[in-house]
Amino acid sequence: MTAKRRQIWVFGDYRNYFQNRVTLQLLSRATDLARKIDAEVCAVVFGDKVDEWVGEYIAHGAEKIYRTDHPRLAAYGVETYTLLMERLVKREKPEIVLVGATAFGREFAPRLAKRLVTGLTADCIGLDINGEGLLVQMAPSFGGNLVAEIVTPERRPQMATVRPGTFQEIPHDYARTGEVVDVPMPRDLPADRVRLVQSERCPQRDQKLEDAKVVVCGGRGLGSKKKFAKLFELAELLGGEVGATRPAVYADWADHNALVGQAGKQIRPQILFCFGISGAIQFTAACNGAKFVIAVNKNPNAAMMKRADVAIVADASQFCAALIQEFKKRFRS
């Protein structure tokens, strides 16, 4: 008899599907991790009429789906979901369970981990497998100033919640097939002690800056509203968004919606330009997720320059103008 293959599970969090792609992002990462430990990528879907999500998850990389489809699961209820998941994990014994760090995920995963008597790392910004085959869970600590690498050496499953936007989903392929395992709804569910009385969709929050792949940020070092305005030109050219530090917002060079930082928005672009920004913690804590950082500052010793991939010692607005020119040239050719 062959031993059962190890499994990596992704919890199917499909509420608000079109803004919340975290499950698909996790399936993508799980596929990479699974290769390193020879595991099977599975998704777990609870809900009422979930075929659509089952199809989506298979198209995005799940090889197997555990599904419980029942009218009582129409609303996300943390108690019922925890109980179903607890039983399923105990039965199937996955090696790893990944949950998106949505509001629901961050309520559900801690309770699940407690019941399973295992560890859980919150709000990870990276996942990997180390030499011993353990899941390395990278979590920000201290307002994002530091990153801790955490493992769960003995307990199983290894569990993490992962911040949305950390990984890139793989393109869907509706020709893919997967196995669907139906898990019956238990008959002995206790009555819910928490009841959802009313739920309405919030007015859509403007998410453009948070989701932007390219962000051009400016600070006090730009010196004037006119010079700051150059950033809009650059951002438009690159298909990105403009962010600003607090002094820039206070000076009315940019709208309050553009504020990046502790008091403003959290960003995680593929590329971040910082013009005339000193790099105060209240600002940098909100952009640790940026993949590639280019900082421009007159002062080579500014904190922002130390944490950039490329630190450019120059006048911010002059450099911005030169950069715009070069991009225009290259986009034309």
Binding site: R15, N16, V78, A103, F104, R106, E107, A109, P110, R111, A113, K114, G119, L120, A122, V136, P140, S141, F142, G143, G144, N145, L146, V147, A148, E149, I150, V151, T152, R155, R193, L196, Q198, S199, E200, R201, C202, Q204, K213, V214, G239, Q270, I271, F292, V293, P300, M305, K306, A308, D309, V310, A311, I312, A314, D315, F319, A322, K329, R330, S333
Partner: protein, 276 residues
């Protein structure tokens, strides 16, 4: 009378602290402490309930002896008593262990409690896990991300925003809520509050043995997770410095990084040298 329990953590006031490269733990002893902002909101919510329908508030904290300060502050603001859980063996606890210790202490010191209030998250570890795990330990229902709450008979009615939904929920008591930070106006210490906090404060201090928990289950030893390494996100970055005239820097930038920039932008930036 309603029995309310507020879990309060003392957190360092500064945002950058040195960490111990060997253990990966932050050297918290080097900073001044303050009440975690979300815990302050939880306390505020409890004080409002007390003002509206009456109740007795117990503030509870686990931490070094100096964490007693946050209990005195809570009493000054209107809490009735404080419980300090302090024991060297508790150091390095993860959220599972912390919630275990808090739960056993609550059962012991606040039997028959009605509502436990926690902050949503702490400013130093930001896990937001202790609240939900404490609810598990106490085997009671729990609701996180709470903005507003109101108690009627044996039911709490609350509002929260979660994943773009504005929800109204009801929970049976006993139960637990975690409260969002920054929802309430600052409170000022009422007349007599300071006196209550310092002259006659009702504060008990308990160690692991007094709470009756297994020493194997607490502190770093009982934690399922281990910190392998702590690093600054900037470490390992190449940090290339470019200087000179702007035009010249732009050239260098594209010579060295056109691939990285191009892939980040999702377009090909290579110019055909001959045609340009």
């Amino acid at each position: 009378m309603l029995k309310l329990v507020v879990c309060i953590k003392q957190v360092p006031m500064v945002s950058e602290l040195p960490w111990d490269p060997k253990t990966g733990n932050l050297q918290r002893d080097l900073a001044e402490g303050m009440m975690n902002p979300a815990c302050r909101s939880a306390l505020d919510a409890a004080l409002r309930i007390k003002e509206a329908v009456g109740g007795e508030i117990t503030a509870i904290t686990m931490g070094p002896p100096m964490a007693e300060e946050v209990l005195r502050e809570a009493i000054a603001l209107g809490a009735d008593r404080g419980v300090l859980l302090t024991d060297r063996k508790m150091a390095g606890a993860d959220t599972s262990v912390t919630s275990h210790v808090l739960a056993r202490a609550i059962e012991k010191n606040c039997p028959g409690f009605d509502l436990v209030l926690c902050g949503l998250a702490t400013s130093d570890s930001e896990t937001a896990q202790v609240g939900p795990q404490l609810a598990e330990e106490l085997d009671i229902p729990g609701v996180t991300y709470v903005d507003e709450l109101e108690i009627r008979d044996r039911t709490v009615r609350m509002q929260r925003i979660a994943d773009y939904f504005l929800e109204t929920l009801e929970m049976d008591l006993p139960g637990l809520v975690t409260v969002m930070a920054g929802r309430h106006a600052p409170r000022y210490v009422p007349l007599g509050g300071l006196q209550a906090a310092f002259a006659e404060a009702d504060i008990v201090s308990l160690d692991a043995a007094a709470i009756g928990i297994d020493p194997e289950r607490i502190g770093a030893k009982g934690s399922a997770t281990k910190i392998l390494n702590v690093f600054s996100p900037t470490e390992g970055k190449e940090n290339i410095v470019l200087t000179g005239a702007p035009k010249r820097i732009v050239e260098q930038l594209f010579e060295r990084f056109d691939d990285r920039i191009g892939s980040a932008l999702g377009r090909d930036l290579k110019t055909d040298k001959r045609s340009s």
